[in-house]
Amino acid sequence: MPRFSPLTPALLDEIRAAVGGSAVLTTAADLDAASADATTERRRPEAVVRPASAEQVSALLRLANARRFPVTPRGTGTGLAGGALAFHGGVVLDLSAMDELTVEPANLLAVAGPGVLTHTLRSEAEKHGLFYPPDPASLKDSTLGGNAATNAGGPACVKYGVTKNYVLGLTAVLPTGEIVTCGTRTRKGVVGYDLTQLLVGSEGTLGVITTLFLKLIPLPRAVRTQVAVFPSLDKAVAGVAAIMAGGCCPSACEFLDPRCLALVGDLLPFGDLPRDASLLLLETDGSEQAADADMALVSEVCKKSGALHLLPATGPAERETLWNVRRQVSLRIHDAWPVYVPEDVVLPLAEIAGFVAELPRYEKKFGFTVYAFGHAGDGNIHLNITAPDRSTLDRVEAGTIALLKRVLELGGTMSGEHGIGFTKQRFLGLELSPASRCAQTAIKKALDPNGILNPGKLFDEDPA
């Protein structure tokens, strides 16, 4: 017996009756739009529901639970793990229309619908002299609901923490239709199990987030930016350690390995660089005095650690230019290689350089090319595994597994930002012990007894 019911015309009518006809979309264009995310996977849902309220979400999930059809939450589909794709068909629940946003300056708080774009919140907060730090590179397109569901991170997280650290509370609809409010609008709270933190990062498998209470902080008045080029990645990483040991936590600390630097070297004024040269992009922030003082310390430490070149940004435009170098890396990799597997592993900080130095061995063995860049301050390395054509996919997969195993051996994790979703689900057993997976599955079953919410993601077997 098939686990899920297909959306027959009769069932679609029931859905329309439950959520209101205008929220249900079934044209080919609607279904196509909901069938892709930022991975290469494509899955067409049978219908798209675009709600405006938690009550509609609740009505849909009650029906889904009674009639056993799958529901897959979706923000704007910028996810890199296939989390928003309907692998079992059914309904894609598109939350992008729930985009109400209120900034409460007196409470240093934002109350946001899940469909609000990350960028929108950041700029609204800024108008009030406030700051929402999480800054995934996708911030112009991604939603806060998606950010919370994946616990998104970004360059600012080394100093300010990830999305999780900013979610004070939320309203969510459970797979069985109950609307629950967890956490608080307050900056502290320890009453009850921390359901908020359980839902954050659960990739839409435990509940649908319908409101977020987000913490804001005062906007730092000044930012300083600088690029430093080192003769090797080893030296660059040692530079980062020395900066932090000097008592300064940079507000961004990105690195490019030699291969990435070579790819974008033309955008920088340094001319020919040594073969192993690596780059750091560093920022400090705070009051004018503090940002300057910290950047002075950064420069001094970089010089002592053997930096070949230092290039400070003299103003906002120059800052933008330096960040563009960093952004160009992914684009150029993407354009240059037909096969492109973006992994985002995290290593204990001391293991970064050693691990990157091992990459050539894997490249040789598995016939792929790896570009490594990422967040040096928190050990999050984007490993971009590339190959010239799809005939090598089997070796790419074998090599990816070998790399992930090595990361885990070194005490790392297979995902720091993007999540497990569908694309990494088959690897999860490498990292989590059976006892841990069992506890996770038990929670999933307790909340979603019929396994209708985002099936095929994160969890190994669909709990049924």
Binding site: V158, G189, V190, V191, P218, A293, D294, P348, G411, K424
Partner: protein, 456 residues
Amino acid sequence: MSLSRSQTQTLKSLFPGEELLLSPEEAAPFGADASRAFAQPWAVVRPRSLEQARELLAFAHRERIPLFPRGRATNVVGDCVPQGGGIVISTLFLDSLAIDPEDFVAVAGPGVVTADLAAAAEGRGLFYPPDPASVRISTIGGNVATCAGGMRALKYGVTRDFVLGLTAVLPGGQVIRCGGRTHKNVAGLDLARLLVGSEGTLAFITEIILKLLPKPAATASVLAGFASEAQALAAAQAVFRAGMLPAALEFMGAEVLDCLALLGPTPWPRETRAALLLRLDGSAAALAADLDSLAAILRAASATHLEQGLGADQEEPLWEQRRLINPASFRLRPDKLSDDVTVPRGKVAAAVAGIRQAGAAAGLPILVFGHIGDGNLHVNVMYDAAAGESEAAQRAKSDTLDLVLSLGGTMSGEHGIGLVKAAYLPRQIGQEELSLMRRIKDQFDPHHIMNPGKAY
């Protein structure tokens, strides 16, 4: 009820020597905590290894024996009281500690005293920010299980924000390892965060991996007095508006200042009706300038009294009055009901006024002070039980909690629920949410052996 002979035998074989306390006299000190409630434990065990904890939780699960994890019992909500009887698991000997300056992590047994960890980190030029006032007498395990806060929470966050990973034993004996030494991790559900703040009701934590930060090179403090509470609160907002995020921001209301005056001379002039204590941290080069900016902001916000200190020697005297609140409070009445409510930041003034009314209605002094930057207020209802004021005090407490909830707040920002507040829980947590928490509890602990009677 108590342990059967064969159960006692099992404990003896699992926990040799001083790892097991069986006599009522030896066990009794493990029956109370800082809430002053008491219940006699059947036995106290003090494991040294994960293996022992594993066997204990398998055994207790099989035999349906209640277990009560215990750090140093400084919680004020009765979290450690073995109500109904059972085995107390003390983390005293689970006190291994390693600081890794390269990875910026500490790996600690749950029994490590928080201040020891902070000092060990500092010795390596690193920084563990969470600083509950009990930092010298409470453990990391207890801090994690209660999600302890502290003054630095405003800038750095609470204990939760520093837990990168942990190892825990579930009822039945399964060992789960969540997270790890990496500073980010999104692989799977965040079980570590679920265990943080669970007050010993889901699992027994045997190891904790904590994130450390670079140690700020310098600190500075300001004490500011104001003619009214409204002015003090407006000044706090002005600090944020200027883009400053202090490492601590403490508020003392009029009643607190009057109460401190009972102990001796206070640094501020008589007309002062509210005070703020602020701390900044950062690089030495910038701090002196930041301190001047801060003083200027406070002055512009009509502070009538200002003292500043750069570096610990100059700062400590400024913080002395804050530390004296507790001893001074008992000059008012011999007994105290204390709460640590939290309201949305913009509602602090309304909360302070409403709590004052509750005190007036009950005819009792209430002290309000605390981490105002987080909206986290300590509320001390002072009363004299011997003079028959207990009922009035309970009424004032109950009114305060209702007020806080009506302002969109929470009845506990730091201390948790435990026994003491369990009865109030339904006022804050709705039916659906409670049922969800119970479903999770049932998955972890189907026989309800972990810290029964507490919280959920």
